[in-house]
């Protein structure tokens, strides 16, 4: 690894200020599971690391009257052991469990995963189906945006270079919403997602209400299958409906064709995973 400077700011405001001062030569260090690898490969022009992993503003998981707040620097390991997450957002726990392995989950943070913004980020679909929002700190103060607006392209978010992701917020109405997460990788342990998918929905009087379907690794960014959701809204669930929703989801995605998997196979996975997350979410809803 090339020579670097390493700074530990004591507040989010200090971090943002450091980023503004140093410009593109500075980079935020969260868990480091991606960044340190990139730095070893000599990527970019980074000369200064600003370690925000221990910033109080970015830590902690709390439930408030409005909903659930997960600090951006909370590790996957911490989410998996958190009793609120285990009961209120089990699909986020499930998604966290599929990230890397124990050692990487203990380093890797949910915020780092979102900011790195790879299309296959496992936490993204699970957060998207719960209408999560993110808080971003900049020189002008904090702003909060829907998570869908956060992802712009592969490794590109809507954050400005000097901004810092503070936390992730899930509205109260979606805590405990029947949901499901499914990831398909090239092996069982430590796999990158070929496709990952999540769904959340309510069953009211036997009709699907506020369905959400999100898919990862199927387009330049994680995405919501809005048209498939529209098809499901207000319908009584049946097999043909789910099959049709899955076909629509396939049409909504733009997967790549690479050495890990062909386009055609990724489409098959989108089809299968969409069916499975909808079906499973319905089962969860019915179990209530």
């Amino acid at each position: 690894m090339k020579a670097l400077d390493y700074i530990v700011p004591k507040s989010a405001a200090a971090a943002v200020e450091l980023l503004s001062d140093y410009g593109e030569t500075a980079c935020l260090l969260a868990g480091g599971t991606d960044l340190v690898v990139d730095l070893k490969h000599g990527a970019g022009r980074v000369e200064t690391l600003v370690d925000v992993s221990q910033l109080q503003e970015c830590r902690g998981i709390e439930e408030t009257d409005e909903g659930l707040r997960i600090g951006s620097m909370v590790t996957y390991g911490e989410i998996m052991e958190n009793s609120i997450c285990l009961t209120k957002t089990p699909e986020i726990v499930a998604a966290s469990h599929t990230v890397g392995a124990v050692q990487t989950r203990n380093l890797g943070t949910i915020g780092g995963n979102l900011v790195t913004c790879v299309p296959s980020a496992d936490s993204a679909p699970a957060l998207m189906v719960l209408d999560a929002e993110v808080t971003i700190a900049g020189t002008e103060g904090n702003r909060r945006i829907p998570i869908e607006d956060f992802f712009v392209g592969p490794r590109k978010t809507s954050m400005q270079p000097h901004e810092l992701l503070i936390d992730i917020f899930i509205p109260k109405k979606n805590l405990g919403k029947p949901s499901s997460f499914y990831k398909f990788g090239l092996r069982k342990g430590q796999a990158l997602a070929l496709v990952n998918a999540a769904a959340a929905l309510e069953l009211i009087n036997g009709e699907i209400t506020s369905p959400r379907i999100a898919l990862g690794a199927v387009a330049p960014t994680p995405l919501r299958a809005i048209k498939a959701e529209e098809l499901l809204e207000g319908q009584k669930p049946n097999k043909e409906l789910i099959t049709k929703a899955a076909e629509i989801a396939v049409a909504e995605c733009k997967p790549i064709d690479d050495f890990r998997a062909s386009l055609k196979y990724r489409q098959q996975l989108i089809r299968t995973l969409t069916q499975r997350v909808i079906t499973r979410s319905l089962e969860v809803a019915n179990e209530r």
Binding site: K2, D5, Y6, P9, K10
Partner: protein
Amino acid sequence: MATRNKDIQTDTDQVIKTEKAKSPSSQPLSVPTDNPVVYPLDLPQGEARLRTPAVGQRASRPDGRLHGLGQTQYIDDITFPHMLHAKILHSDHAHARIVSIDTSEAEKMPGVLATLTGAEVPENSFGPTFQDQPILAYPIVRHRGDGVAAVAAVTEQLAMEALEKIKVEYEPLTPVFDPLEAIEDDSPKIHGESNIYTSKIIKKGDVEKALKDSPHVFHRQYTTQMVEHVPLEPQATIASWDGNGRVTIWSSLGRITLGREDISRTLAIPQSRIRLIGTIVGGNFGGKNEIRNEPIVALLSKKSRRPVKCVFTRDEEFTSSTIRHPFIMDYTTGVNDEGLILARKIRLVLDGGAYCSWTGTTIGKGSILAPGPYNIENVFVEAYAVYTNKTTTGAMRGFGAPQVCFAYESQMDEIANKLGIDPLEIRLKNGFSENSLSPTSQTLQSVALKESLNQASDRFGWKEWKA
């Protein structure tokens, strides 16, 4: 780690201090009160190690305890005062002629103590069968894993940065990657006049006639992929010379006697002046069965007059060590209505990569084993190994056997399914027993094939499972 402008480090410390971060730079340095490495010295050994007779005991391994304590010393755990670190520059091309190599800029860097190119290696070739592989490629590079130059510097990072300063000018040559293309007469040639560098024939009985007379003939092509050994320990070497002109080399090599012969040949020094020490190897599987960086490190050590260590990165372990041969296998098998195999004709094409390495053994074992452990009177096997501009294929756990076994056992099931015979039955029916004749007409002894079939199917519950 790079030597870094002191001012900037001071700045960093100041920033940390002003931020009152966790940096302890203002705190006094603590003096360890004890060695943090503690372990019991005289625990009893496992009971099975103490029993007689020794054979048949589930005796624990003395190295096993050391592994568990973290005490096993692999090469990378060994250091010497003033030791340098070597890094190797690999080819930018799959097939090219080196026009020039300029190491002067690298040599000017403070902390870089030696560089090396292929032209400086006394005998720049090695290989267990043919000596067709260079220590550092010069003047032809034949795959991207070929090393073209090496550097020894005070840190690994500096050695890596020095590699960036080495200028290599290439004249690209047409590469060939597909073994079936490489086998053609008009393909680009990688060594000499033909890309087929070794072949094998096994011939018993009259396969053509027997196939013609067979009631059922099955044909299928099977292919396998390139596979890496993935030893958890990447290959590593340290070399150090003494005043008598004697070099000691610590290496993760799995065969030191022949390794010393190869090193002696490439360095052009007597074997008596080489001490080769093999420590515990962190996984071999065939990938550490020939020399690789030992001569490079020895020469860098000689030039710099310091001990030099070289450890492969994981990337280099994939691209510059050997890997398993991909096979293209055509199987034609004649059987009668009862499922007895009457004839088997096989053609094997081995993708050999850029150099021969252990292909001789692979093609030999692959051909002999290809018909499977079955009594077949009429056998014809032809096998060809072909150079391509890809990673060198060599020894890997089974020398061609995993490839041909995949083919012959897959075809056994296909035959069984087609003829409505139980897959276990068809193997028992055709399988070797004591004094069976192998495809090379060797009378086989201590044959336990059917015993293994019966025990495995009993343990599996084959009959119940099939029912």
